[in-house]
């Protein structure tokens, strides 16, 4: 990547921070400040390092600088009939591409199309020694060396400053339809797993209760003929596409009324479990379920952490304290992320030291200091 002024400044800032072990808080638009452990350190604002470096639709690859607004990237792709199929949540208009990769969060279509990590082809980063390093590339298949660029997805900035990423993009499918089914949670989970085993163009699903009644929304995407045939086959009530698109967008950004926790004591929990996990016996209101059963959102106070994590683990998954309660109550004693096994934690900490020997990047954001 070209060493221009914006990149030069980032590199110099990292070198200076490394020389006196100043912690840096790497930040794009700040839309995900709430996510992970509390950010610490001096602000390193990435927004000046922006712009689409290269985009050739016939290559299905776009190379983007980290500070580029996600909205700008998505608009450029839409103009050519392409998209980021994993629908990264934006949580506002200021989200950046770097933040998208660092947070590693994916939206409604994730269970059918893959995650952010699956679409990262390459990355340039500044490590904790201030070295500019490139891994991966701009091609679909690449097994030269370790897949360092993909581990950046979800690293919350702890391995280095992401300067530029190359992403695989895909054409927007020719057809789309949303179906609604009235059903309870257990039925919804059963149906989703049944459908998943058939060659249907499933793309996203969402179940929640509204006014005491459960509703399952299913989005199909694919060839016109395939979507039409699936609608015929599955039944349900077909929704207006424009209305449905707005609703899926709200789901993606957690703007649906369901997500409002108000000023109460409830935090928002993200429970990631195998899609076949049964209804989980977590106290309180019914969850909102996405990813064909794989991602379940619960509203419960942080004090229930131990119980929620125990249930999630027993089901083969893990639980994240995604958003703190609206009441502003701090929950410092509850780690945001579930515990790691001893050997995995040892490797993760060692990996962070290898990339960031002075511990300057987003200190404690992913793994609390030990």
């Amino acid at each position: 990547m070209t060493m221009d002024n914006a990149l030069h400044q980032v590199v110099e800032r990292v070198r200076a921070a490394a020389s006196d072990a100043t912690p840096l808080r790497i930040r794009g638009g700040g839309t995900k400040d709430f996510y992970g452990e509390t950010p610490q350190g001096e602000l390193l604002d990435m927004r000046a390092l922006a712009g689409i470096t290269s985009y050739e639709p016939s290559e299905l690859v776009v190379t983007v600088r980290a500070g580029t607004p996600l909205a700008e990237l998505e608009a450029a792709l839409a103009e050519k009939g392409q998209c980021l199929p994993f629908e990264p949540p934006c949580f506002g208009s200021d989200g950046t591409v770097g933040g998208m990769v660092a947070a590693g969060l994916s939206g409604p279509a994730r269970a059918s199309v893959g995650s952010v990590r699956d679409y990262v082809l390459g990355a340039t980063l500044v490590n904790g020694r201030g070295e500019l390093l490139s891994f991966g590339g701009q091609v679909m298949k690449n097994v030269a060396g370790y897949d360092v660029s993909r581990v950046l997805a979800g690293s919350l900035g702890t391995l280095g400053v992401i300067a530029e990423v190359s992403l695989k993009v895909l054409p927007v499918p020719p057809a789309e339809a949303t179906l609604e089914f009235a059903c309870g949670q257990a039925d919804a989970l059963r149906l989703l797993n049944e459908w998943g085993g058939r060659p249907l163009p499933l793309n996203a699903s969402c179940w929640f209760e509204y006014a005491g009644a459960g509703a399952l929304y299913l989005r199909l995407r694919g060839a016109v003929a395939a979507v039409e045939a699936a609608c015929e086959h599955l039944g349900g009530e077909r929704k207006d596409n424009a209305r449905a698109a707005a609703d899926w967008q709200s789901l993606r950004d957690q703007q649906l009324p369901w997500f409002a926790t108000g000023e109460g004591p409830d935090a928002l929990w993200r429970v990631s479990v195998p899609q076949t996990a049964p209804v989980l016996s977590i106290d309180g209101a019914a969850p909102l379920i996405e990813w064909h059963g794989g991602q379940r959102w619960y509203k419960a106070p942080p004090s229930q952490a131990a119980r929620i994590r125990e249930i999630a683990r027993a089901a083969g998954g893990h639980a994240t304290l995604f958003r703190l309660p609206g009441s502003g109550a701090r929950a410092a004693e509850v780690p945001r992320f579930d515990a790691l096994s001893a050997p995995v934690e040892r490797i993760q900490r060692a990996l962070m030291r290898e990339f960031d020997p002075h511990g300057i990047f987003n200190r404690g954001r992913l793994l609390a200091a030990n």
Binding site: S58, Q138, A225, A229, G317, D338, Q348, L351, L366
Partner: protein, 500 residues
Amino acid sequence: MNAPLTPTQHDSLQKTQRQSQIVRALQAHLPAHALIWHDEDTTPYECDGLTAYRARPLVVALPETEAQVAAVLKTCHQLGVPVVARGAGTGLSGGAMPHTMGVTLSLARFNRILKIDPVSRTAIVQCGVRNLAISEAAAPFNLYYAPDPSSQIACTIGGNVAENSGGVHCLKYGLTLHNVLRVRGFTAEGEPIEFGGEALDAPGLDLLALVIGSEGMLAVTTEVTVKLVPKPQLARCIMASFDDVRKAGDAVAAVIAAGIIPAGLEMMDKPMTAAVEDFVRAGYDLDAAAILLCESDGTPEEVEEEIGRMTAVLRGCGATAIACSSSEEERMKFWSGRKNAFPASGRISPDYMCLDSTIPRKRLADILLAIQEMEKKYNLRCCNVFHAGDGNLHPLVLFDANDPDELHRCELFGADILETSVAMGGTVSGEHGVGVEKLNSMCVQFTAAENEQMFGVKRAFDPEGMLNPGKVIPTLQRCAEYGKQVVRGGRLPHPDLPRF
């Protein structure tokens, strides 16, 4: 009587002593039949699919249980003995080539399918299960495991995890990385460890993404949970001829630009077509400069719609002939040549070297023309078969290994293709891995600092460097020596100039 030993005798004595020491230590944990060290027994383990590189291990261990794997790793770790894990030995880059002072850990006996779950559409299999065996076991549920490397009849899932294997369908269905949920195995110290999980993500850094494709350098895999996908109801394949390689290359880009992701999109050049037609008699167009195979799969409605769109694009790009399979038998016939490209090359030449670089799709014609120039330069023939849809090249350079000069020219030819691929914005390996074969080329693709950071990754998992040492990442010294020949400052000289 007491004349000092010559250096060779000294080495040999040291080796024998070390071998006895390791055998004694491992005998405490393994049954007699799970341990071999005599030359006549270890010979089959000298190399993997890359037969040009050979080494003899001190000992081959064939454990049957995870407890035995742990014991072998712990023992070797204590003794400071390198361990090279091995599956079916079908790899093409020497990734499983033994260490002359090490133990080869054969996982061939971990060959059980533990669970096929049609509801969650996952399979839990031991690492030594063959790729195709997973799809066969899932077939009664109308499910299959998508990645299909051409060696799928023999290669194991553990090896696929090590290499992040692809296949002809990975443009649409993804690589091993996209189809594996969980890897269970052991650290270099013999501690059990799991990466990923049955859920769609796991807390913390995504170590699974690093372990897949790490060529046995970070951990030893013993068990894998893979995703299974519903079998498409129908697949049809278009065979299109072009009288010019540039038109064929442009057609590949045009199909993608039209918003189509084919299930497979393959390209063969004229010499390759001639070689395979002679072998399988699939009815390929021998006059064509290049042939494209373009496949659509899905529901019958989807396939009909897509085949129509593909045909229109290919015609628009100047295809001189187009045939579309109308039965499964005919589809298999179209593919028979492509799938037999390697054995067909073996028939027309005593030896061949298979390359594996990837380039941006738009450079397909450029690299074909560059390779044609190289054929003249090195005075060797080359047949080309490409996973064109994802830009992954498999040029097959034909040579005779018994002729030292041909072998040398072949190596230069191969290095030239790899370095030209990097110069075109590509990579030295798309799916076969670096192993020992492409260590020099890694010096061209990565800077010293990048290679050093990858050594850092290795240290984080395996601080003492016991797992498959010496593979994948070149040392600074190696790059410096290679650099005296071709490289300056960690990069190619004049990277902006076309290199042909």
